[in-house]
C-alpha cells in the first residue's frame, strides 16, 4: 500500500498545541542525545554520518521514555511494514522537547539516506539543511539549560 499525501499529513501528528502550550523540557536521555547530535560533523563522509544518526535513534528509542502515539488512520502497523523501522512517526505522548529531538534526527537521517540516491543540491544547500537542524537542536538545549539556571 502506497502512503498517499493525506496520510503523510496524518502521520505528522500536528504538534501545534503542544509546541505553543508546553515548555521545551528535555529528559536527561534526550539531552545527552542532543549533545551527541551536535558533535556530529558535516565533514564526515555521508555513510559515516548516517551510521551515527542510526545509532542515535537506537539510543533514543532505548533510553528516552515515551509511548508510540495512536493514529486513527491509516493503520500504523501497515505503514511500519511498508517503511523500515525508523519511519517518521511522532510519539506524541512524549514531552514536546523530547519529541522535537527525535524529529530532528529522523528527518536528518531521511534526508541523508535519500540524498545518496541522487541530488542536485549545492554544498550551500547541504549547509543550510545541516545548519538549520543543528541550530534548532542547539536552541532546544540552550532553553533547557536556561530553564535550569
Amino acid at each position: 500500500m502506497k502512503t498517499n499525501a493525506a496520510e503523510l499529513f496524518a502521520i505528522n501528528f500536528p504538534l501545534t498545541k503542544k509546541i505553543i502550550d508546553e515548555e521545551m523540557v528535555l529528559s536527561p536521555g534526550a539531552k545527552e542525545i542532543a549533545h551527541d547530535f551536535l558533535s556530529l560533523s558535516r565533514d564526515f563522509p555521508l555513510e559515516k554520518l548516517e551510521k551515527h544518526l542510526y545509532r542515535l535513534l537506537d539510543k533514543y528509542q532505548k533510553t528516552v521514555p515515551g509511548k508510540m502515539g495512536k493514529i486513527d488512520q491509516p493503520d500504523i502497523s501497515e505503514l511500519q511494514k511498508e517503511h523500515e523501522r525508523y519511519f517518521y512517526i511522532t510519539r506524541y505522548e512524549n514531552n514536546i522537547g523530547d519529541l522535537m529531538v527525535e524529529n530532528i534526527i529522523q528527518s536528518y537521517l531521511r534526508f541523508l539516506s535519500d540524498s545518496q540516491l541522487g541530488h542536485h543540491l549545492t554544498p550551500i544547500d547541504f549547509g543550510h539543511i545541516d545548519s538549520s537542524l543543528k541550530s534548532l537542536m542547539q536552541y532546544l538545549l540552550s532553553k533547557e539549560e536556561a530553564n535550569n539556571d
Binding site: K2, N4, I20, Q106, F111, D114, S131
Partner: protein, 200 residues
Amino acid sequence: MINIHEKSMIDPYKRWMYAHHLFFVLIQGLIVAHRDLLKALEEHNRGSAISAFNLATNLFWGSTAAFRFGTDYSAEEYDSIVRPTMGPPDYSSGFSDLQSVDHSALLILISKLTSHFKNLPNELQAAYQGYLSALHAVYENHAYVCEKFVGRKGPSLLQKTQGSEKSVSAAESIRTVYKKRTMKYAGVENQCPFSNDEGK
C-alpha cells in the same frame, strides 16, 4: 555527492515525502522561534529576541534548500507519480500545504509580531534584516518549484478546486498574494526591499 550525469536512483514519491518530513520539523521549529520572539519582544529581552530571530532565519534557509531537495526530479515524474497521490480517490480535491495546521499556526504567530517588527530597536535591526532576507527566499524558492512543475501559467490543485485556475498561476499567486501577505505580517509594506518592483 552523486554525479548528476549518472542515472539517478531517486524515487520521486519518497523524495517528496522526505522533504516534507524536513518541512514538518522546520515549521515546528519556526513556531518555537516565533513564539519565543513574541515573548522576548514583549519583555524587551533583546538577547532572547536575537536568538529567536537567528533561529527563525536559519530555519527559513533550511526550508529554501528543502524545496529544492524535494523537487529533484522531472516535471513528468511529478505529474505521473507524485501529484496523483494528492487527489481523488485517495484524497479530496484541492490538496495544499496550506491545509497544514502547523503552517497556519506559524502565520498567525508572525501576524502577532507585526507591530513589534515595525518598532524594533536599533540593536535588533541587523537580525531582523537577516530574517526578512531568508523569509523572502522561502517564497521565491516555493514559486521556483511551482514554475518547474506546473509552468509559469499552471494553477495549483487548490486553485483548480476554487475555479481560479485561469486568472493567475500558482507561482504568481505565491509571489503576489502569499509572499506579499506574509511580508506584510513581517512588517514590510508595499515595496519589496530586495528589488525595484513595487511589491510584486
